[in-house]
Symmetry: C2
Subunit: 460 residues, 2 copies
């Protein structure tokens, strides 16, 4: 496989670094816009990998934004065929009770659980079906000249190196993006990265001996433990992939899950009903790697008319709002809209960053807040009260009241606008609550005054 | 010059990367603590450099924390001999008025202006006077093994490379520290860097034709312009070094100071009395580079018992609180205290980060706030009122009321404690103000009621 294009092809050439979710969908979008596209990816082709390569977060929840971006290029149907609808949350409490909460008040407010590699396979197939698109798996970026622009890439198997000229370089190479590093080198680049002191581990709930799901399949399962959090996404084959989140260090942490007795004891206390669903629990805890979670806020995302970042390279977020993939897909859509609107590509890339970054910065905040909320508040009565009021109000006033989660997951309202609207709603809710207390106080005062008067009268 | 130590010397060996302010003072402290010390610095020996190498921020204000750290190793006297006391601020308003504000209510609350390179020369001389301390100028770090630990360094002049084993490696290599990069590699390191969209340029107020200062020498001069800010520190020879701060881009920015007419016009509007003090103004604006300012918040600062960061490598701050050097010197003192208290060096380095980082994070906030305040608030009446109230209260209640600036510049109260105390004071001040309004309101209400009663009575 050579990386040199046909010299007769006069179309603009895009080089995408990274064939993950963002990079693969960007290939589809850019091809549709008339670019020749070469995608370089360090890992092997996921379509050739042995199934069930466990231990990485391979199961994701597709929601409205991601669906919208797939719909735009005609791929939503193909993806949904390979996914399991999740109609709500099944919450498994530490006391053993299990409850179902539908995602929204409307039937179409559902998420779709899909395997990461299957999704990428659909995207790569769709991109390769377009003329001039090629994927190069097993190649690593080792240099980028943002002025020319061009990249140097090395084939990992044999060390062969290639210099690839481009008109546009797209960095879709993840939270620790090398493209970003080269793009921002020597500029006044603002950059923040923040790791969570919690990690995660992938576990499996296989089908039962009869090949049937062990739990309700069409839902996201959540175990809000006292010292950890577990979620499970369903797979088409009836199994579920769990992700266990807990601190790396400390008295109740991955560090202390160091043997069968400790693991079983921890699960008995925190996730009592989960243990029997996971026959290989102990082995998986010991064998599977512990993943890290990082938030990245960075700028600039672009250099002149020739280098641009999408996905985690531009805005990595904690996974607790389920929006990592969805926001990456939305990047592709927004970038495409900007390329459509602006004749000059430099203007388009600038417009993309201006339009997009405020929203992904808000998503980073929301994802952090959601982690804190999931960790600390799920069991608190005030939270339940607020969540209940939210749900009630959205049923009564569907056009006027939409819970923040619903706006984030089930609409394409830009993140910052969703947050602003939610904050307005919260202020109203608080005012109403205060009003209620005041009304109660006034009523009490009136009653007491009447009683006092009555007493005075009777005392006369 | 070879980097290999005598094999008979059994003392622990420290390698310091960077012979700036933090690295040079750290050499003194570590030598006193019994370490053999090798310091590698990319630049040339400042003691050999031609005087007056203009265009970099070479003039700094030494305040209480820095003085305390120099005092501890007996170097304060030497440094003060080479400095000019600054007893307060001379504020040059755009309308041409000039006023003097003493720094504190007490005579000893003064700052000392000193040339960066002269200060470093004092520190290097003092360090080299101790046995086993060597400075290697013109060497660059190109590798660091945090496990061994060791560094590889290259002599810039001839490309000679040396591998230097160490017991302790100190990263004193500035805001874009390579030591930090190696220390944190692959760890869950939190890192934030933020550039200001303002830059700075060094300018000169030379002595007059008779060799005398053109302005009051023993003060920090401040020009709070509408579209920029200028400060000037005095030098021993009677000249002053100015720093002009303004936006990089925009209608009133370095980008628009692109010729003699634009420069003279800008100064006439913003710093009317400054132009005549700077005969080479136009040439200097055009010739001198524009510096950048960055805030760095990062962690961890240390790796096991063998690598540690100090100074800008650990916490770069904007220069608007005049605490960059002072906090770096304080790092050396705090690190030394931790090495004194903890037998185990790993414990000492951990204690150093725990003790120090919360305070330098607060300093980063304060330095940002002070920039915003200097930029936006200096001319607002409410600010003047608050500053006046602060000064009055500290005169009346010296033991109970200390302005934040005074605590930061003239005491060694840790930064976060200074901030907390200032916030308590501000709450009291606000409460007192509210109380005043309430008292006034009550008095008015009483008066009105009496008047109304009088009216009713007279109406009967």
């Amino acid at each position: 496989m050579t990386a040199t294009p046909s010299p007769t092809d006069r179309r603009d050439r895009a080089v995408i670094i990274g064939a993950g979710l963002a990079g693969s969908l960007a290939a589809v979008y850019l091809a549709r816009r008339g670019y020749r596209v070469d995608v370089y990816e360090r890992r092997d082709d996921p379509r050739l990998a042995p199934a069930g390569t466990a231990g990485r977060s391979i199961n994701l929840g597709l929601s409205a934004r991601g669906m919208r971006a797939l719909q735009e290029v005609g791929l939503l149907g193909d993806v949904l065929k390979r996914s399991v609808p999740m109609r709500g949350r099944v919450v498994h409490s530490p006391d053993g009770t299990v409850s179902f909460q539908p995602y929204g008040v409307h039937g179409h407010q559902i998420l779709h659980s899909v395997l990461r590699d299957e999704l990428i396979a659909v995207l790569v197939d769709a991109a390769e079906a377009q003329p001039g698109v090629r994927f190069h798996f097993g190649w690593r970026l080792h240099g980028l000249d943002r002025e020319t622009p061009s990249v140097s890439v090395t084939q990992l198997a044999d060390g062969v190196t290639d210099e690839v000229p481009a008109d546009l370089i797209v960095g879709a190479d993840g939270a620790f993006s090398s493209v970003r590093q080269q793009l921002q080198y020597g500029l006044r680049a603002n950059h923040g990265q923040e790791f969570l002191d919690w990690g995660y581990k992938e576990l499996t709930i296989p089908v039962d001996v009869d090949g049937r799901p062990r739990v309700r399949l069409e839902a996201l399962h959540v175990w809000p433990g006292e010292h950890g959090l577990m979620v499970a996404h369903p797979n088409v084959d009836g199994s579920l992939t769990c992700t266990l989140f807990m601190p790396f260090e400390g008295p109740h942490s991955f560090a202390t899950l160091n043997g069968p007795a400790a693991i079983r004891d921890f699960f008995r206390r925190n996730f009592p009903d989960a243990q029997e669903l996971m026959p290989r629990l102990v082995e998986e805890i010991i064998e599977h790697p512990t993943g890290q979670m990082v938030t990245v806020r960075t700028s600039p995302w672009r250099y002149a008319d020739r280098v641009v970042l999408i996905g985690d390279a531009a805005h990595a977020v904690y996974p607790f709002y389920g929006q990592g993939m969805n926001s990456s897909f939305e990047d592709c859509l927004v970038l495409d809209q900007c390329l459509e609107r602006h004749r000059d590509r430099g203007d388009a890339l600038a417009a993309y960053e201006t339009a997009r970054r405020p929203h992904t910065d808000v998503l980073a905040d929301l994802s952090t807040r959601n982690f804190v909320e999931l960790r600390d508040r799920v069991h608190r009565p005030a939270y339940a009260l607020k969540a209940g009021a939210d749900r009630l109000l959205s049923r009564l006033l569907p056009a006027h009241w939409t819970p923040l989660y619903t706006m984030v997951a089930h609409t394409t309202t830009p993140y910052a606008e969703a947050l602003a609207r939610s904050e307005r709603q919260d202020r109203l809710l608080r005012a109403a609550a205060t009003g209620g207390v005041l009304a109660l106080g006034t009523a009490l005062a009136y009653t007491i005054t009447r009683a006092a008067r009555a007493t005075r009268r009777s005392g006369r």
